[in-house]
């Protein structure tokens, strides 16, 4: 069951109850009038060498999770441990020392490269910031990295605008690899690319993972691509993870109603099957993350909503080995939950 999940190894990344709330200022005096709960209590582990796919619709907080993991934002609450270092509460100087362990690949390869720096400078920036070696050694390392991601060495002194989207993304990947990181957050690395280029970049990421033993958090809304690359998949809805399971299981047997709806939206290439597929169509819109519904976040749109869903928040727990879920439908002890809800509410 857990054949392709290296769950025996220790988690490289341990996220516990991560919360990321952005304040809203309003009114005449610009007082704090509320907050956008972009990420609201997310917990998961990523094991060494695996790829965790993080999927969900636009605005559900995927990218925020990715950025919070590297502490590009100041967390509201929760802890993030990468390689046993607590990232969330590290001092700026300590954090800077930890930066080489964790890197990020960005969504828009155009926007993530400084237009006024040459490729060699962009890839070499992490090397200049953290140590390392003489100028000549750094240059050699830059050229080596360019080979590694399949960029021609002659391009070293060119500027980002002279490259195609796929090549720019390779530059971004080379920069992320420069410091030999263990963990890379891929924030929709293929969303801005052509389909043909997407495959190249994903294959490159897979090759690099095999040769360098990298661990990825692969954020995407492209479910088929996640199925291709991820070992385990986490599904997010409105700032929370609703389901986390090994890839094959989640695609063949989704448990959470939202996961079912999400997966049924994947187009089927065969038209004869496509016409027979029954789609789960969700009605309504995603509630505002500044004012999420009481109880389960998904209760406003869930096709199998129950009374309990509108009252209490389901807990994120392991319902089967390796499968984590936050849904009352699968909380085997419904009455106990009811009681505890009554206690908790009272």
């Amino acid at each position: 069951m857990l054949d392709d999940t290296p769950s025996k190894t220790k988690p490289l990344v341990a996220v516990d109850n991560l919360k990321m709330h952005f304040p809203i200022y309003g009114g005449l005096l610009r007082r704090r009038t509320g907050e956008v709960k972009a990420v609201d209590g997310v917990s998961f582990d990523i094991f060494e060498g695996e790829t965790l796919g993080l999927v969900g619709e636009s605005g559900c907080g995927k990218s925020t999770v990715g950025r919070a993991l590297l502490r590009l934002y100041e967390l509201t609450d929760g802890t993030v441990k990468i390689d046993d270092y607590d990232i969330a509460h590290a001092s700026p100087e300590a954090l800077r020392k930890m930066r080489p362990t964790m890197q990020m690949i960005f969504q828009d390869p155009q926007a993530s490269l400084n237009p006024r720096m040459t490729v060699a400078d962009i890839i070499g920036e992490p090397l200049r910031e953290h140590d390392t070696g003489s100028k000549l050694e750094r240059e050699d390392r830059v050229l080596e990295l360019m080979d590694q991601v399949g960029l021609n060495r002659d391009f070293a002194n060119r500027y980002p605008h002279e490259f195609s989207g796929g090549q720019r993304q390779r530059i971004g990947i080379a920069r992320a690899l420069a410091l030999n990181p263990k963990f890379i957050v891929c924030d929709e690395p293929i969303a801005a690319l052509d389909v043909s280029i997407q495959a190249q970049v994903v294959n490159l990421l897979e090759e690099l993972q095999d040769s360098l033993g990298l661990t990825y958090l692969f954020i995407s809304h492209d479910l088929s691509m996640v199925r291709h690359i991820a070992d385990r998949v986490a599904v997010m809805y409105l700032g929370r993870i609703v389901e986390l399971a090994p890839r094959e299981e989640i695609y063949s047997d989704p448990l959470h109603p939202y996961t079912k709806a999400l997966l049924s939206a994947v187009p089927e290439p065969d038209p004869s099957i496509e016409s027979k597929v029954e789609r789960v169509i969700l009605t309504g819109d995603v509630p505002s993350p500044s004012n999420p519904p009481k109880g389960c976040n998904f209760c406003t749109r869930c096709p199998s909503v129950m009374d309990v869903c509108k009252q209490i928040e389901p807990t994120f727990q392991e319902v089967r080995p390796g499968r984590y879920l936050a849904c009352h439908l699968f909380e085997d002890t419904a009455q106990i939950t009811d009681e505890s809800a009554a206690n908790g509410a009272g």
Binding site: N114, T118, H161, E162
Partner: protein
């Protein structure tokens, strides 16, 4: 930004490393191919060389009074004519140009440094934004000419006593013009920095662990170069003209000390008799400003790698 990479000779064995061409050569190539910028630079160099070395070749003292030769038109002895006291206008133009150019450039540099510093600090550090921008608004709201007059009244004597009449006035003029003209730059730079700060490459640099000061020098400043260049070129013009107005009001350099602005305003009284006397300093100011503007334009294009290739 980037240090020029040392060029390794091509003949080096084994490793064929392309000799990295310093990007300043690219900048120079692009600058040269910009016609306006090139001619602007030629004109500017001519003016600068003329005011620097002209007095060594043209021996008439700009303050020498020859009352019998007053109000003359252009002649071989006086190529630009003489003024109402018979002083040679050509000599006065050259020595006046030294002062005007020096004041213009120094005041512009001061305003630029101040404006960029305040703009970058306000845009980059959220906590400083409010106070610094209110300070900018405050300076913008001040009526500048009266303020300049007060500054000069208050400090002229002190500085003259300290640095001599000319040096003191020079420092006073430069700092007075500089600290009253940085606001536009600061506002423009702040706006650009605010937009730039949200770009992903800044986030990428933060994920690398680049500290703030290098973030500013490596990622922010090079990208706000365009508006800075533009306000720099406009700043020289404004500084020369402000100096002229102050000289006109009798608050700049002493009356017998020629500057282009002083020459211009002295000539206004004789506009009917000898209109040429107004044209010489007017033309010098306009040519300088125009040349600097074109140079700034070319330099801005040359420093932008996206435009450079074309």
């Amino acid at each position: 930004m980037t240090e020029p990479v040392p060029a390794t000779p091509i003949a080096e064995p084994v490793e064929i490393r392309k000799p990295a061409r310093s990007q300043w050569w690219d900048v120079w190539d692009q600058f040269r191919s910009h016609t306006g910028a090139f001619w602007g630079m030629v004109v500017f160099l001519i003016i600068v060389l003329a005011v620097l070395f002209g007095p060594f070749l043209w021996h008439i003292d700009p303050t020498y009074i020859d009352i019998r030769a007053r109000n003359q038109g252009p002649s071989l002895a006086h190529p630009m004519g003489t003024d109402q006291l018979g002083r040679d206008t050509f000599a006065r133009m050259m020595s006046g140009g030294r002062v005007s150019l020096a004041v213009g450039m120094t005041a512009m540099l001061l305003a630029l440094v101040l404006g960029t510093l305040i703009g970058v600090l306000a845009g980059y550090f959220k906590r400083l934004d409010g106070p610094l921008m209110r300070l900018t608004d405050l300076f913008l709201a001040l009526p500048l000419l009266p303020l300049l007059l007060v500054i000069i009244m208050l400090f002229r004597e002190v500085l003259s006593a300290r640095f001599g009449p000319e040096g003191g006035i020079f420092i006073l003029m430069v700092s007075a013009i500089g600290i009253t003209s940085w606001m536009q730059t600061a506002r423009i730079v702040r706006g650009d920095v605010l937009a730039l700060k949200e770009r992903e490459f800044v986030l990428a640099a933060r994920s690398i662990g680049t500290p703030n000061r290098r973030m500013v020098t490596r990622h922010v400043l090079p990208n706000v170069l365009s508006p800075i260049m533009v306000s720099a070129t406009l700043g020289i013009a404004t500084a020369i003209i402000t100096e002229s107005s102050l000289s006109f009001l009798g608050l700049g350099f002493p009356p017998d000390f020629p500057t282009w602005g002083r020459l211009l305003f002295d000539s206004v009284d004789y506009l009917q008799q000898s209109p040429a006397r107004v044209i010489w300093p007017g033309m010098a100011i306009s040519m300088t400003v125009l040349a600097v503007n074109y140079m700034g334009d070319g330099l801005r294009d040359a420093l932008d790698p996206r435009i450079r290739g074309r």
